[in-house]
C-alpha cells in the first residue's frame, strides 16, 4: 500500500510543479531592479493578468532590458493561500517590489508586509494601502473606458439592444459595467442594456451561453469583462454581433467584430512606484489609472472600419472625460 501513496503523492507534487512553473527565476547581479508578481489567472488571459504582464514587459523595455529590470511571476494563483506563500517567498528572496495583482490577496498582504519592512509591496485593484508604509495600492477607473465603449456601442447598435457579460458583481468589473451602461443611456436613452453576471471568472461555457442569450434577446452589440469572456466573443462572432473589450486588447480573438478595447496600462502607475522606491519611499500611496493619466487607453481595432463620425464621437467623449466636461454618474 505504501508504494501507492508514494506514487500518488508523486503525481500530485509533479502536477503542482507543472502548474506553477510558469515563471522563470534568474539570479540577479546588483543594481538591477527586481520585481515579482503574483496573479490570479494566466499571463495570456487577454484580460486582467495579461494587462499586468504586458505592462511589465513595456517597463522592462523602457528601463533597458532584463539586465536593468528583471521580473518574475507566478500565474494562475487562484488559491489565495498559495498566493500568500508565493508573496512571502518573493519577499524573502529580496525582490525590490512584490506585486499582489488581485484584490483577493489583500488580507494576506496585510499580514505579510510588516514582516518585510525593507521590501515594497503593491496590490490592486484597490485604493487601500492599509496605512502601511511599505504598501502601494493601484486601481483602474474602469468606468471611464466603459463609458466610452458604451457611447460607441449605442451609436453602432441598430436593434438598440446591447448585452453585457460580467463575472461577479464587484470590483472593476462592476465599475466597467456601470460605466458602460451610463455611456449607452447617455447616447440613446431608450436603448436596452441587458446585464448578465455569470458568477464566475473561469466558466467559459456559461459565458458563451450568456452571449447566446443576449443575442437571442435581440442584442447586436456585446461587451464583457474578465478572462472567461473569450467564450462569449466567439458567440458574438458567430452571430456577427459587435464586441467591445476591456482590460486587455481583445482584437486578435475576433478581428472582424471587435470595435475597440479599453486597455489598462499599469506601467503608468508602476513607473511612479518604481521611482518612489528608488528615492526611498516604499509605500503609502495609491494610484488610479484613468484616461487622463494614460493608465487607461482606448485601443481601436485597425481591422474594424469605424465610420469617421463614430470615431470623432469617441474621441470627443475621451477628451470630455479627460478634461472633466463629462462626468459619469454611477448608480
Amino acid at each position: 500500500m505504501k508504494k501507492i501513496y508514494w506514487l500518488v503523492s508523486l503525481i500530485v507534487v509533479l502536477s503542482m510543479v507543472l502548474s506553477a512553473c510558469g515563471g522563470q527565476a534568474t539570479q540577479a547581479p546588483e543594481k538591477k531592479f527586481r520585481v515579482a508578481v503574483v496573479m490570479p489567472s494566466a499571463i495570456n488571459d487577454l484580460a486582467f493578468s495579461q494587462s499586468m504582464y504586458d505592462a511589465l514587459v513595456r517597463i522592462q523595455k523602457e528601463m533597458g532590458g532584463p539586465d536593468k529590470f528583471e521580473f518574475v511571476y507566478s500565474e494562475n494563483m487562484f488559491v489565495v493561500d498559495d498566493a500568500a506563500a508565493a508573496i512571502r517567498d518573493y519577499a524573502t528572496q529580496g525582490y525590490d517590489l512584490v506585486i499582489a495583482h488581485g484584490s483577493q490577496y489583500g488580507s494576506s498582504l496585510q499580514e505579510i508586509a510588516p514582516d518585510f519592512p525593507k521590501t515594497s509591496f503593491a496590490w490592486g485593484t484597490t485604493a487601500d494601502t492599509f496605512g502601511q508604509p511599505n504598501i502601494f495600492a493601484y486601481e483602474a477607473a474602469s468606468q471611464e473606458g466603459g463609458y466610452v465603449n458604451g457611447v460607441l456601442a449605442a451609436t453602432l447598435s441598430t436593434s438598440d439592444v446591447i448585452g453585457v457579460v460580467g463575472p461577479i458583481e464587484t470590483g472593476d468589473a462592476k465599475l466597467y459595467v456601470d460605466g458602460f451602461k451610463a455611456g449607452v443611456l447617455a447616447t440613446k436613452p431608450n436603448a436596452t442594456v441587458n446585464v448578465n453576471y455569470i458568477g464566475s471568472f473561469s466558466d467559459t461555457a456559461l459565458a458563451a451561453e450568456a452571449a447566446n442569450t443576449h443575442i437571442a434577446a435581440g442584442a447586436d452589440v456585446l461587451t464583457g469583462t474578465a478572462q472567461m469572456v473569450v467564450g462569449a466573443i466567439g458567440k458574438a462572432q458567430e452571430a456577427n454581433a459587435l464586441w467591445f473589450g476591456t482590460q486587455s486588447n481583445q482584437s486578435s480573438l475576433a478581428p472582424k467584430i471587435v470595435v475597440a478595447s479599453q486597455v489598462y496600462h499599469w506601467e503608468v502607475a508602476l513607473r511612479e512606484i518604481i521611482s518612489l522606491i528608488k528615492a526611498g519611499t516604499l509605500g503609502g500611496k495609491s494610484f488610479t489609472a484613468n484616461l487622463a493619466n494614460g493608465g487607461e487607453v482606448i485601443e481601436f481595432n485597425p481591422d474594424y472600419t469605424l465610420s469617421a463620425d463614430a470615431k470623432a464621437l469617441a474621441d470627443k467623449t475621451i477628451q470630455g472625460i479627460k478634461d472633466g466636461s463629462i462626468t459619469i454618474t454611477l448608480p
Binding site: 506514487l7 502536477s15 503542482m16 488571459d45 487562484f78 466558466d203 442569450t213 434577446a217
Partner: protein
C-alpha cells in the same frame, strides 16, 4: 416581467442553451457511470476533460481536421484512463485520492502544454451546426433539437446506447456484477480487473470527448482551466442520476436548464440579485438530491479495491 419568461423566444432560448450546456456533462457523467457501476470512483474526470480539451483544440488548430482533433482527445482520455486503471486495479490505490492526483496532473499538464505549444488564446472553426433535414424546419422544436453540432447529437445518442449496454448485454451484466459483488463475479470466471480496465478506459475516453465538445464544438477556443469544475459536477450527476444513464440525462438537463433560465432571468431584468440567480442550479440540484437520496443505493463495491482471496 415574469410573464416575459413564457414568450416563445425565451422558451426556445432556454431550451436550446440548456441542451448545449448539458452536452459535456452527459459525456463525462455517462463515462463515470460505467466506472462507478463496476465499482470504481474516478475523481480525475476534470483533469481528463482538460487534457482532452487541449488535445482536441491543439490538433485541430494545427491540422484543421476536427475529427483528428476529436480522435486525439479520445486517445488522451483513454491513456489517462489506462493510467488510472493501473493505479486503482493493479496497485489497489485509494480511488478518491488517486483521482484527485489525476485531476491535478491533467490541470497542470494542460496548462504546461498550452503555455509551451500555444502561448496565447486562439480561436478555430469548430464543428458546424448540422441541420437535420425536415425536422430542423419544425418551428421552435427544430431550432432546439435539430440545429445543433454533431457532438451535441452524439451526447444524447449516448444515453440510450449506454442504457442498452448496461442493462441488455452480457458486458453490462458483467460490469454490474463486478460493481455489486466482485467476489461472486470472480468466482464465476468474470475477470474483475479486465472489466474495470474496460470501464475506466471507456470513462476516460468519454471525458476526453467531453473536453473536446467544449474546445472544438461549443466554444471553439481553449483557455487554461476552462472546464471550470464541470468534471466534478459530472461525478455528482452520477449520484444524482442514481447510476442510471436516463437519470444522469435528467440531472444534466435539470442543472443546465436552470442555468440557462437564470441567464434569461437576468437578461429580462427580473429583480433577483445575480448572486442568487447563479446559485439556482446548485440549490435545486441539492434539493432534488436530498429528496431522492433514500430511494437509491450505490453499487456495493463502489470505491473498494478488489483483492482476490486465495
Amino acid at each position: 416581467m415574469i410573464s416575459d419568461l413564457l414568450s416563445v423566444t425565451v422558451l426556445i432560448g432556454i431550451l436550446a442553451s440548456g441542451i448545449r450546456l448539458a452536452t459535456p456533462y452527459l459525456y463525462a457523467a455517462i463515462g463515470e457511470t460505467f466506472g462507478q457501476k463496476s465499482g470504481v470512483l474516478n475523481l480525475g474526470v476534470e483533469g481528463q476533460m482538460l487534457l482532452g480539451s487541449f488535445a482536441a483544440f491543439y490538433v485541430t488548430f494545427k491540422t484543421g481536421n476536427l475529427w483528428l482533433g476529436l480522435l486525439t482527445a479520445m486517445l488522451v482520455g483513454a491513456l489517462m484512463g489506462l493510467a488510472m486503471a493501473y493505479v486503482t486495479v493493479n496497485l489497489h490505490a485509494q480511488q478518491g485520492i488517486s483521482g484527485i492526483g489525476f485531476y491535478l496532473f491533467g490541470l497542470g499538464m494542460s496548462e504546461l502544454l498550452f503555455q509551451s505549444l500555444m502561448g496565447s488564446v486562439e480561436t478555430i472553426q469548430g464543428f458546424p451546426k448540422v441541420h437535420i433535414p425536415f425536422l430542423s424546419d419544425i418551428p421552435g422544436i427544430g431550432e432546439i433539437f435539430f440545429s445543433q453540432n454533431a457532438l451535441v447529437y452524439g451526447a444524447y445518442l449516448l444515453v440510450p446506447l449506454a442504457w442498452f449496454v448496461l442493462n441488455k448485454t452480457t458486458l453490462g451484466l458483467k460490469i454490474r456484477a463486478v460493481g455489486e459483488n466482485p467476489d461472486a463475479a470472480d468466482s464465476l470466471g468474470v475477470s474483475v480487473a479486465r472489466v474495470r480496465y474496460f470501464t475506466i478506459i471507456l470513462g476516460g475516453t468519454l471525458s476526453g470527448i467531453a473536453g473536446a465538445s467544449l474546445s472544438i464544438a461549443l466554444l471553439n477556443v481553449f483557455q487554461q482551466g476552462m472546464t471550470s469544475g464541470q468534471g466534478f459536477i459530472a461525478v455528482a450527476l452520477v449520484y444524482f442520476g442514481a447510476w442510471r444513464p436516463v437519470g444522469v440525462l435528467g440531472g444534466a438537463l435539470l442543472f443546465s436548464l436552470v442555468n440557462s433560465l437564470q441567464l434569461w432571468i437576468q437578461v429580462l431584468g427580473i429583480p433577483i440579485p445575480s448572486d442568487i440567480a447563479v446559485m439556482m442550479p446548485y440549490v435545486l440540484t441539492i434539493l432534488v438530491l436530498v429528496a431522492t437520496v433514500s430511494r437509491v443505493r450505490a453499487p456495493s463495491a463502489l470505491s473498494k479495491p478488489f483483492e482476490r482471496e486465495d
